[in-house]
């Protein structure tokens, strides 16, 4: 256990509408998500004194959001980043509350990820070469997409550990199955069978379009405060047992070494911080920008030994009644894509038992893990309990 264990909580979560074309700016989406999270917590906007966000130069600022809520915040912070940023910012929020600077912090991610600035392309090759560390060694060869960079890790890892295309398919099929129970999921009403999956051509071997995350317009928000203040909130607090987030790889050009990822470093730290083990986890949100990234993290976080992760997913363990129900709203493969925050919202709702007696609720879940992955070099994770 660490100094922060059970002393901070997520007390509110909220999201905007999710669409292919929001027709509004990220500020409008962020306001919808923030108001939903504030209402969920039973707070008023003026109770929030810190606002934080992550973005890729595709969003509004925390200050814009705060002022449009009629709040003059004590503290705002916007960082450049994708996956794992939620965990990084929660750690910052806790530090600021711990030091007495702030009381309650709202963290959001807002993006027109489909109709606006898309991760999938449209970049100037020379800009990419100049801005990506070691860009001259990849961009002239047509390798400009995370799907290609992570794909190099995937092909090697699959070769070494016996993971097959069908194992990737089990990740997709399990998450799409969750999405069929979630009317707000992007791929609700579009189920995926293993036969469909295996008949889908590769977009970038070893990945088909189903192995890639989707792109959506949406905003998500969460509210973090101390355990004492959480008692006054409307909803059941979800306590943070432990967390870890770091950028860590032996070379700044992470593709120079395909054998290790930052999750390998974060995993022991997050368990130590929370004082629990992998076998204590009841429900998971595992960052899923690509199906294979889930498999690599299942290995890193100790849910199955190296070499047995494929069997673990083939046995149906990611499904709602499996050993480790994972990304139960559909994840980024089939629910929505905000670089991970939608997966945080879902695990908070699961741990509150918000879905009650419906088929969406993971039965008797008490402890959950949420992981982030910005790439093989950046990982964040937190363990939560109800």
């Amino acid at each position: 256990m660490s100094k922060i264990t059970d002393r901070y909580a997520i007390v509110g979560v909220g999201e905007s509408e999710r669409s292919k074309n929001s027709g509004v700016t990220p500020l409008h989406l962020a306001l919808d998500a923030a108001r939903a999270a504030i209402s969920d917590a039973g707070l008023e906007a003026k109770d929030i004194d810190g606002f934080m966000s992550y973005n890729e130069n595709d969003s509004c600022t925390s200050h814009q959001l705060a002022t449009n809520l009629g709040v003059r915040p004590k503290y705002v912070k916007d960082i450049l980043g994708g996956g794992s940023s939620t965990e990084l910012l929660i750690a910052d929020a806790i530090s600021l509350i711990e030091s007495g600077e702030l009381n309650t912090v709202l963290i959001f991610r807002s993006m027109n990820g489909r109709s606006g600035s898309r991760v999938g392309g449209g970049w100037d090759p020379n800009m990419l070469q100049a801005n990506i560390d070691g860009g001259s060694y990849i961009i002239p060869y047509g390798a400009a997409s995370p799907g290609q960079w992570f794909g190099l890790f995937a092909t090697r890892h699959m070769y070494e550990t016996g993971i097959t295309q069908e194992h990737l398919g089990h990740v997709c099929v399990s998450f799409y199955e969750h999405a069929q129970r979630n009317p707000k999921a992007f791929f609700h009403g579009r189920p995926l069978t293993m036969e469909d999956y295996l008949n889908t051509p590769h977009l970038s071997y070893p990945f088909t379009k189903h192995d890639f995350c989707l792109e959506s317009d949406e905003a998500n928000a969460i509210i973090v405060t101390s355990a004492e203040q959480a008692k006054d909130c409307k909803t059941k607090p979800v306590y943070i047992m432990g967390m870890s987030s770091r950028q860590c790889h032996p070379h700044s050009h992470y593709w120079s070494d395909l054998s290790q990822v930052a999750s390998d470093y974060v995993a022991p730290e997050v368990y130590q911080s929370a004082g629990v083990k992998a076998e204590d986890i009841d429900v998971a949100s595992i960052y899923d920008c690509f199906s294979w990234v889930v498999l690599r993290q299942l290995e890193a976080y100790g849910f199955a030994p190296r070499g047995e992760v494929g069997d673990f997913v083939a046995e149906g363990n990611l499904r709602i009644d499996g050993k480790l129900p994972t990304n139960t709203a559909g994840g980024m493969l089939s629910e929505g894509y905000t670089h991970g925050m939608n997966n945080v919202l879902e695990i908070v709702r699961q741990l509150r038992h918000q879905y009650g007696e419906t088929d969406r609720q993971v039965k008797n879940c008490e402890i959950g893990i949420c992981t982030g992955w910005a790439g093989p070099d950046i990982a964040g994770a937190m363990i939560l309990r109800n």
């Binding site: 392309g121 990419l128 390798a143 290609q148 190099l152 977009l203 071997y205």
Partner: protein
């Protein structure tokens, strides 16, 4: 017809590598203190932090084994529309095992690629004064 694909941009750290490539040779940055190669190169050794770095010339006979690969069926950058399917491979060098270099495997059917396959470096003359290292399968 001018070259449509991105040309490697030289900078203060990588210029010796790309200058050598223009002459159809391969040079790698090497740390004089810990003897490790540093690739991609930089101002400090990623193994020990030393700035005591030099460049070793491997000449034009560079061989290796496919360590990993992907095959793109869609161009992710302008200029690659006629190169689909595009094989992008990371190759472990026979003479410097800890160095792995990414390039395309050219003139190669996708189903001929596999991990462990033996390849050699070739250089494509892409402009009057620039050349791009590529991999080719050793038959």
């Amino acid at each position: 017809m001018t070259y449509q694909k991105p040309i490697p941009l030289k900078n203060i750290d990588n210029a010796p590598y790309w200058d050598a490539a223009d002459h159809h040779e391969m040079k790698l940055q090497k740390c004089n203190d810990c003897s490790n190669y540093n690739h991609p190169p930089g101002p400090g050794c990623s193994k020990c932090g030393s700035t005591n770095l030099s460049w070793k010339n491997f000449g034009s006979d560079v061989k290796g084994k496919v360590y990993s690969y992907i095959i793109s069926y869609r161009p992710f950058l302008p200029g690659f529309q006629n190169d689909i399917p595009l094989v992008i491979a990371q190759v472990e060098l026979d003479n410097a095992k800890d160095v792995r270099i990414i390039a395309n495997i050219i003139d190669c059917e996708p189903d001929k690629v596999e991990i462990g396959k033996s390849v050699r470096m070739v250089w494509e003359d892409i402009t009057d004064d620039r050349a791009l290292p590529q991999w080719k399968i050793n038959e």
